[in-house]
Amino acid sequence: MISNKGKIEWFKKSLAFLALVLGFFVPLLAQAYTGITIVMSAQTLTNKEFIDTFKAELVNTKNSSLKVKIINLQETEKLEVAENSELVIALGVKALAASANLKFSTPVLGVFIPMPAFNSLLVKSKRDLGNFSAIVLDQPFSRQFLLIKNILPASKKIGVLLGPTSSQYADLLKEEGEDAGLSVMEENVYLEADLIPKLNAALATSDALMAVPDTLIYSRETAQPILLTSYRQQKPIFGYSQSYVRAGALAAVYSSSKQIAKQAAEIALISQQSSNLLPPPQAPKYFSIMVNYQVARSFNLVLKSDEEIYQKVLAADTLEAK
């Protein structure tokens, strides 16, 4: 016992000495590692666009004190260099998973992250929301309902297909739907084989379908049967991405990488001012809408210009915000 006690005392003393020594270097070290590190898993067009816009936004705010360093996980697996950054921004799930393992005092902000993936990483990393946050890819349901109401004013019932991941949003969808004057008709899909029968059921009882991301339901492979079924039943689908709209959905609310970069830059500045404490995870603040006019035409829908629709959705979105 005694000897142990002695050891602990010694350890404490040594630690204090180390701290003292290191303390001298802290200003130097801090200066050496200050700034923002962006971690990405691959050099994609989306990521490049994000980085360029993010840098440009920082320059616009005349905050040149924030340096931006880029780490591509394909080139290096060593993330320690990011350890002392004021903020680490991780682009995509893979990069966020890697960054989540950094020491807890390094704040990590994920972008291009699906909400369920963020939740999952939050649990796994045992981090706190104050040092782990994200701009999720999921648009608020209320905003999507606004788009639906603007495009199909007469619509009353909206079908949704919920799978293993998305079923957690069932209650929220219903609630927000009610606020928008829409009854949400849900069908639960737990087996791939049920997809088309459930889709038929959901479309039969509603005016349109709103896609809620779930890998069991919406994927490259299922795009064809889903969109064809919607087309044949003459019930449009509201997607959640530009590519789904290009593929044949009627419209979608989405945020471009530039828009997300702008929001990320704002967060970077806020966290700098509030001693590196990150705001809570948030939905995309800036958004665009995309309408497939070819599909609208085939469904015999006469729609306003996408700019007009966007302005209406934006106005209502901001109104709610006030």
Binding site: V93, P114, P116, A223, Q224, L228, S241, P280, P281
Partner: protein, 717 residues
């Protein structure tokens, strides 16, 4: 975004956080049971946790390409009837042509005619025989009408009803969009894509004179989705007719998504079977009742290439081969000629026939009535939109049909028929209330040279759910082989030499090959409306048909030397003779009475007038003046559904092998029960055709229909 928004999102994320925590807990406790019980839902649950940014922002192949998106009915240049999968099921029909009873303006005759007597006659607006040859019929863009007679051998199509997603019928000429033979109407049969089909399905049918079995398998292998259907159909036909059918077929379809912008599609079909042929009523000497074999196949490949979001290109090629192996041997000829001799009143003629009867070189006549036709067709098509107001499609195709039919063409050569066409169609919406459609097809073929079929329509949509259409469309129908090169004869050699006949000739038809295309100009005023659950489509139409192709006596037929023509005053040849006006009204309604009850009600009133002399026989009666179809369907809450269909056609006299038939009334009832049990789901259904057992005639007085029942069982797994 406000604080409250942030707050609600935060709540949401925390809720998800708690769920994930819970899920992880469950995961650890359930892990052992998973291994032992093999819970199949669990791995998928885990897989779905892997949502990545790619699921949100990744590329998705374009599905509703501009060429796939059809015009909305309100913008369509023609009247269209859509028979969807649900309607097909509800009708209880077991044969494709039976479905066309649901189309206003169509007449369907079961097993019509004496030749190809197992085939349905399906005609639009009359003026047709059992061998209707004035419609374009497509299966997924592949033209299936016969080059021989222009019609379709419906029972030989390698398509199972359960594979059909929908049938679109364009009522009226539409050559600009559908090409050659889109004269009176176009039937476009579209099958389910492989990706929409359940993995395994079995369907069996048993009923009066009917047995059928189908097995279908669909699957995926990476970017390839495929479907194969095996089918067997057995149909005993009608009473007192030699019209049984046994058909075996395989059909397969595969879609290969090369990348987001390129898709390859393949189709393949194989049909074989036996058919009853020949009827004692019509011919008890040469074309006596017998059994013939059919062997058909086809293959198709299609490349769809996405040029941009608003432009795509499609290249399609297919080849089909249809063979009907039919051989007939006459009864002994000597007694026949003796019989003819004894029936003669003139002593000189009686002696002449007896002399012939005693000097025939053969005892019996053997006819090789094999028919082989092949079709090769390549088509390229480009669809694009220019701004938000213009959408256009244009393209070109080349086709070669070949025909080997020694009995019909009078020689053992394979004849070739080449056809090239160029087509274009533009839809222009200058204002949200107006749509202008214009299009044309330029066609060149070996039989009649070059011709153009233009079309224009103007749609006015004063309100969202109401549209008016004014349209004018012209089309021409190229004569088929029967009308262009028919040389049907029986030659019976004798043992005699000059000055006596060395052969006897019975020449029924000898085409001179000088026929021009038949022409139609169709005008219509249409209305399409939707008032809450009621959809209405009405049109007034007036068709002017000229240069009608029909058969009449050929006066310049020269008999070869030393040959005795047995029918000197009845050698026929196809010619253009006469004109007609076909006028009337077509009404089609679909009423969603409640969310579980639907009524389909269709009516047509059609009058045919002769406008130029020459249309002898019964042209003006060749379409029932009134046809009425009603189908009521109801879904009961407990998996049961029922449908009641009523078909009524007024009296008519069909051309060709038809004769006068009275007003017909038929009521069909279908009851079905759907069930689900684990991985199995399915349906048991019973259909009663002609519920009240009215003994009515269809197409001709030799076709009597009675009550028939069937039971179907379908399993999906």
């Amino acid at each position: 975004m406000s604080n409250s928004r942030f707050f609600s999102l935060l709540v949401l994320i925390l809720a998800g956080y708690c769920q994930t925590l819970y899920a992880e807990e469950v995961n650890t406790t359930e892990a052992s049971t998973t291994a032992t019980e093999g819970n199949s839902a669990w791995p998928q649950f885990l897989a779905s946790e892997n949502l990545s940014e790619d699921d949100y922002i990744g590329e998705v192949p374009k599905v509703l390409t501009i060429s796939r998106l059809s015009q909305s009915l309100a913008d369509s240049p023609s009247a269209v009837t859509v028979i969807d999968h649900e309607t097909i099921l509800a009708s209880g029909a077991v044969d494709i042509p039976e479905l066309f009873r649901l189309v206003p303006g169509m007449y369907v005759g079961t097993n019509a005619g004496f030749v190809y007597n197992t085939n349905h006659a399906v005609s639009f607006h009359g003026m047709n025989s059992a061998y209707v040859g004035n419609m374009q019929v497509l299966i997924n863009g592949r033209s299936v009408y016969s080059p021989l007679f222009g019609g379709v051998n419906w029972s030989e199509l390698p398509v199972a009803l359960m594979d059909i997603e929908r049938i679109e019928i364009t009522r009226g000429p539409n050559a600009a969009s559908y090409g050659a033979n889109a004269f009176s109407a176009t039937i476009n049969i579209l099958t389910l894509t492989p990706s929409e089909t359940p993995a395994n399905s079995v369907l069996v049918t048993h009923g009066n004179g009917r047995n059928e079995a189908f097995y279908r398998h669909a699957g995926k292998a990476g970017s390839l989705a495929y479907r194969a259907t095996l089918g067997y159909r057995q149909d005993d036909g009608l009473d007192d007719r030699n019209d049984f059918k046994r058909t075996r077929f395989v059909s397969a379809q595969a879609d290969y998504q090369v990348n987001t912008n390129n898709m390859l599609e393949f189709e393949f079909g194989l049909t074989g079977g036996d058919r009853g042929e020949g009827n004692i009523l019509e011919d008890n000497v040469v074309f006596v009742p017998r059994t013939k074999q059919i062997n058909n196949y086809f293959g198709l490949a299609r490349w769809k290439h996405q040029l941009s979001d608003t432009s795509d290109f499609q290249l399609q090629a297919y080849h089909s081969y249809d063979r009907s192996d039919d051989e007939t041997t006459s009864v002994e000829l000597k007694p026949v000629f003796k019989g003819i001799a004894n029936a003669q009143t003139s002593r000189r003629l009686r002696a002449q026939f007896l002399f012939i009867a005693n000097n025939l070189a053969i005892d019996r006549l053997r006819i090789d009535n094999e028919v082989i036709n092949e079709r090769t067709d390549i088509e390229a098509q480009h669809t694009f939109s220019a701004g938000n107001s213009i959408r256009a499609v244009w393209g070109a195709s080349v086709r070669q049909d070949t025909l080997y039919a020694p009995h019909y063409l009078g020689n053992k050569k394979t004849d070739k028929f080449d056809l090239q066409r160029l087509f274009g169609h533009v839809e222009w919406r200058p204002h949200r209330m107006w749509t202008l459609n214009t299009g044309a097809m330029l066609e060149h073929n070996d039989f009649t040279g070059t011709d153009i079929s233009p079309r224009a329509s103007l749609n006015f949509k004063p309100y969202m759910n109401h549209a008016l259409r004014l349209s004018i469309s012209s089309a021409l129908r190229t004569p088929n082989y029967i009308e262009e090169k028919f040389d049907q004869k029986l030659v019976i050699p004798t043992t005699l030499s000059a000055p006596f006949p060395r052969a006897l000739l019975l020449q029924t038809t000898a085409d001179d090959g000088k026929v021009d295309p038949e022409r139609i100009i169709s005008r219509e005023l249409g209305y399409m409306g939707k008032i809450s659950g009621l959809q209405l489509d009405a049109r007034l139409f007036s068709d002017r048909i000229s240069d009608v192709i029909r058969f009449d006596e050929r006066t310049d037929f020269t008999v070869p030397a030393n040959v005795l023509l047995l029918n000197p005053n009845s050698v026929d040849s196809a010619l253009n003779k006469g004109s007609a006006a076909v006028e009337g009204l077509e009404l089609q309604t679909r009423w969603e009475i409640t969310s579980n009850t639907n009524l389909l009600l269709n009516h047509s009133h059609i009058r045919i007038r002769e406008t130029q002399d020459g249309l002898k026989r019964n042209f003006t009666k060749s379409m029932p003046v009134n046809t009425l179809t009603a189908m009521l369907t109801h879904n009961f809450s407990n998996g049961w559904d029922a449908s009641l269909a009523y078909y009524q056609t007024s009296e008519t006299t069909q051309l060709g092998d038809g004769d006068p038939v009275d007003l017909t009334r038929r009521t069909d009832l279908r009851m079905a029960h759907q069930f689900h049990s684990g991985v199995w789901s399915g349906e048991v259904s019973a259909v009663v055709e002609n519920l009240f057992n009215e003994h009515y005639q269809e197409f001709a007085d030799y076709n009597s229909l009675k009550r028939r029942g069937r039971i179907n069982l379908r399993l999906d797994f």
